[in-house]
Amino acid sequence: MSKKTLIVIGNGMVGHHFLEQLVATPAAADFDIKVFGEEKLLAYDRVHLSEYFGGSTHADLAMGTADWYGENNIDLRLGEQVTAIDRAKQTITTPMGDYAYDELVLATGSYPFVPPIKGNEHPHCLVYRTLEDLDSIRASSEGAKTGVVVGGGLLGLEAANALKSLGLEAHVVEFAPRLMPVQLDADGGALLKRKIEELGVQVHTEKATTEIVEGEDARLRMNFSDDTHLETDLIVFSAGIRPQDALARSSELAMGERGGIVINDQCTTSDPHIHAIGECALWSEKIFGLVAPGYTMARTLASVLNGDREAAFSGADMSTKLKLLGVDVGSIGDAHATTPGARNIRFNDEQAGHYRRMVISEDGKKLLGAILVGDNSHYDTLLQYALNGIELPQQPETLILPESQGGAPTLGPDALPETASICSCHNVSKGDICGVIDAGCSDLGSVKAETKASTGCGGCAALLKNVVDSELEKRGVEVSKDICEHFPYSRQDLFNIVKVNGIRTFRTLIRDHGKGHGCDICKPAVASILATCWNEHILATDHVPLQDTNDTFMANMQKNGTYSIVPRIPGGEITPDKLIVLGEVAKEYDLYTKITGGQRVDLFGATLSQLPEIWEKLIAAGFETGHAYGKSLRTVKSCVGNTWCRYGVQDSVGMAITLENRYKGLRAPHKVKMAVSGCTRECAEAQSKDFGVIATENGWNLYVCGNGGMRPRHGDLFATDLSDEELIRTIDRVVMFYVRTADRLQRTSVWMENLEGGLDYLKQVVLEDSLGICEELEQHMADLVGTYQCEWKTAVEDPEKRKRFREFVNAPEKKDPVQEWTTERDQRRPLLEGEPA
């Protein structure tokens, strides 16, 4: 049987998801698949578009790879716009020619609506939809001071945040009397406005723009109908979206009155060979401007093409949970109480800035909708009540009251029915999760890998963890927090025991609080705790046997049993003389030399017995240990900053050196990395570090708990426009709180994800001192900074300690016979296994 041709127009989020679904079915083999995308870039995650300004690239945001298309024999034609459909001939037209189809899928998405205001064609009037749009905004922001977003909806506020992150003074102009008119009511909108204005974005509601003209002090001036005006250097229109339905219109498919391609439950248009999915499709008179419904349509259509007669799209929930400029906003179901007989319960704490509204049914038994501003912690529970029609408790108001006023605890995962949707992005129900657990998944990670739950927008992460934990516990899988068989405690428990009882050695701790002799799990953990509490030299005899070999010998063991040496180069700044010393030492000992990812130099291939000699030379030249071996501060990376850089606004190198010298040697549950960028361009990639500092005109913005490596995480913005002193004080507190409360080998990113209350809680502890411990945290840090010693300096000066560095204690001259070497690119390196000498 000859293959049929399937053409997909549009390579956006939904079009891509459709292909992923289709190739997983047997039907994929029946089709030659062609995809046309107007954008030059492979489908990318538009939902996280704004992260492009935070440093993400197209590659980070891409939904798939060109290789994936190749492997699945999909002919992907990017940058090729389809200009016409001939339904009679079953062909489409592009500037490159005509193509025949048997089945056609329209996944053309939508386009931003630009209101017909005189002057809106000015080059500094822009929109916010594609990566190209963002490039234009970035270009326009060069030399600009202020930016205005027209439209105070969800996307408009996100665009305002983006303008702010580009260093512009941001304004939002909204026609309606409040922000987010679709999702919020008057009180919610007013609170959101207040919160956003506190963050430095000015909000102008009830403003109708009449024209845009040349400005006097800025590039442009917007004149409003109330005879006021606003000057700005650029304008971003975000006044709603319109379905991209031009092709359907010109080929006379059935259309909605206000646009949109009409589809039935099978996502098929008025022409049985043409289908439409995503934001261009109109189902039951509704356009769905969110990605989850689009994905559901994509799944439905893939099933339909695979011959499934039952598959049907049945609408989608439009509830949303967002963080806009750091402010929580949630809107569920019938938020505006349009259902006849609906009643409201409102909780409005203007002091704390929390607003919650429940819309309940006439009989008081069902939750119909809700609005949340300022605090989304009730969202998951309320959503489950609304989606699953769970009967409300006797006094439903307890669901939104603060706990101190008798508020109910959140709905336990047990109360959810099997059909409860846990992850709407990937359509995973509680039943699906139970299914994969029964099939053998025994932790959160494998459940995620198996079901894809919480790998979309991530909004369901907390709920997913609760469900998984509770299901595992039910099945008798113990979710144990014990560090190992020797101590029935978590790292945090052990920390408190050591601190409170003044314990200074491992033996005392295990004798009084544990059992046995310890192991390679608990010993290094306790060593790190002891170091934090008492900061004694790590080669003190009591501590030696606790350390991982890297710590014991203060160098990183490499695969052939030799070590690498990484001297500290604070901030990556080094004098030519010091650089020459590094070169001379490397040459003398024939050490393979490489620049690390942390802006310093790694010297590989030193034997155990060479380490003290090498360090003697390095110390004489003024170097200190870089702690590359320890669970401690690694480097503080920096860009060159305002000393040289044309864009720099602060001295990033100077700050990096200050931070590195302050925190060097500090022992932590895991390694800690920091970076400082001299302006918002973020050349030091600070947001991927545990602590990232980015210069602003007025000081420093601090990001916390970012991560590179295997599971990258962007740091969370923690505080803005800090002075030097405020910055250091804030980092002191967060670092110390992490050191005290994190689990063994828990990076700050994972610590944050597991911290109950998350970022907001951490802010309360550190910025508002809600636990009353900030002074103690600072004092503890000051003690540690005061007792810093370079471990290598102490070691080379002490003959007893140097004794540890004999390769064979009875044969000082003996060389390790198994180290075999070869030369590559003019440097010595170990022979690989099986490689001939």
Binding site: G516, D520, P545, V809, N810
Partner: protein, 122 residues
């Protein structure tokens, strides 16, 4: 015929590090000697060579006990070896060589096969 062995002095008590290991060179190659003062016996000797990588590193591992057995963890890929039997806890089929070891006054002696010396001499 029982293979001939000799009890070689490999180091002194002062060379040992409590709760940890040191490496010594013997007629049978590199050997790791561990001193765990809170156990009886307190001395253990096993091959210094990590059987998974062939590198001489075991003396530099962390010691301890797992389910009551004295163990050292390889510093390279962290497999555990029973200090008495040499058995690897993660892989039944792997074990390291063990050596009888004793304290003679201030000297630590390890029993190594003497055959090597002779065959080398022959």
């Amino acid at each position: 015929m029982k293979a001939r062995t000799s009890w070689d002095v490999v180091c002194t008590v002062d060379d040992l590090v409590p709760e940890s290991g040191v490496a010594v060179w013997t007629e049978d190659g590199p050997v790791a000697v561990f001193y765990l003062p809170h156990r009886l016996p307190a001395l253990f000797a096993i091959s210094h060579t990590d059987p998974f990588t062939g590198k001489n590193v075991l003396a530099r591992g962390i010691t301890g006990d797992l389910k009551g057995q004295p163990v050292v963890a390889s510093p390279l890929y962290k497999q555990h070896f029973n200090l008495q039997s040499g058995q690897c806890l993660e892989d039944e089929e792997v074990a390291v060589k063990t050596y009888p070891v004793l304290l003679d006054g201030n000297n630590v002696r390890v029993e190594v096969p003497a055959a090597n010396k002779e065959s080398a001499a022959a």
